[in-house]
């Protein structure tokens, strides 16, 4: 088995997150672990359909399933979500950097104008 690159992993995470049902499941799990039955409750979906979504999330490493007597409750594994969050931060950082440059550029324009006025 080869080690998946960060990009591959992020790709898998985003694919798993590209579903409002799966995001709703994660939002529920952010409040605490739950069984498949509990997770299925708010949805107008069959248990097998919900199980399928849970498997996608599990494969993407977004949730873990523990063995607890005969139950296997699902719990959130926040590490992958943090990677997504890092991506969002990068987008924000890119804009902050652009606005810093806009500020510098405006200063440059202002001093140019002053020089021009001085020349007149």
């Amino acid at each position: 088995m080869t080690v998946a690159t960060d990009e591959d992993r992020l790709s898998e995470t985003f694919a798993a997150l590209a579903s409002s049902t799966r995001r709703a499941i994660l939002a529920r799990l952010a409040e605490g672990s739950a069984t498949v039955n509990e997770l299925a409750e708010p949805f107008d979906m069959t248990l097998p359909a919900i199980s399928k979504h849970i498997k996608v999330l599990e494969r993407a490493g977004l949730i873990v399933r523990t063995r607890h007597a005969q139950y296997r409750p699902c719990a959130l594994d926040p590490a992958r979500l943090e990677e997504v969050s890092t991506w969002t931060d990068r987008c924000r950082d890119a804009w902050e950097a652009r606005f810093d440059r806009m500020d510098d550029y405006l200063t440059q324009l202002r001093s140019q104008r002053r020089t021009d006025e001085h020349d007149d």
Partner: protein, 166 residues
């Protein structure tokens, strides 16, 4: 939870500039001004075409010098809303130099990653200075128009972290 619930969430940045609103508007709509600040450090903007009117096209090329020579990235989009000195809304997609939008894999971004995004800029005149509110929303590949999921996930990650540390 539906996608509509998160439509107001996105990357939002507020910033004030010591310049009149007319000049800040030009920063976004005059290709020469735009090219001066938009490119990341060490990059240049050799092409910035902007047809500033609702429905008008935009095309931007970003160039970085690499040891193997210059590398170009192209972005194409459309202006959605143009209210001079007030509000600018445009879309942006990663594309090739002909303006053909690339699939995430070809664009070098992970599957499911937003290759199309929408940028909203609101301009406010505050006694001769300008405050802008910039919103950048991602549009997920499988549900066009369902904007704003990026920040929603950000919040989710925050809740998750808080939950784990409890």
């Amino acid at each position: 939870m539906t996608d509509d619930d998160v439509s107001h969430d996105a990357v939002v940045i507020e910033r004030s500039f010591d310049a009149p609103v007319e000049l800040i508007w030009q920063m976004w709509t005059d290709p020469d001004h735009f090219a001066a600040w938009y490119g990341p450090d060490g990059a240049s903007i050799p092409v910035a075409e902007m047809d500033i009117r609702a429905g008008g096209a935009r095309r931007v090329c970003m160039q970085v010098e690499t040891p193997k020579g210059p590398m170009q990235m192209w972005f194409a989009g459309e202006y959605r809303e143009v209210s001079e000195n007030q509000r600018l809304v445009y879309t942006e997609s990663i594309c090739d130099e002909h303006g053909t939008v690339l699939a995430p894999a070809d664009a070098g971004v992970p599957e499911g990653h937003p290759t199309t995004t929408e940028v909203h800029v609101d301009f406010h005149d505050i006694d001769g200075r300008t405050r802008i509110v910039m919103t950048h929303v991602g549009v997920p590949g499988d549900s066009p128009g369902a904007a704003g999921w990026v920040m929603a996930l950000d919040k989710l990650a925050f809740h998750a972290a808080a939950h784990i540390s409890r």
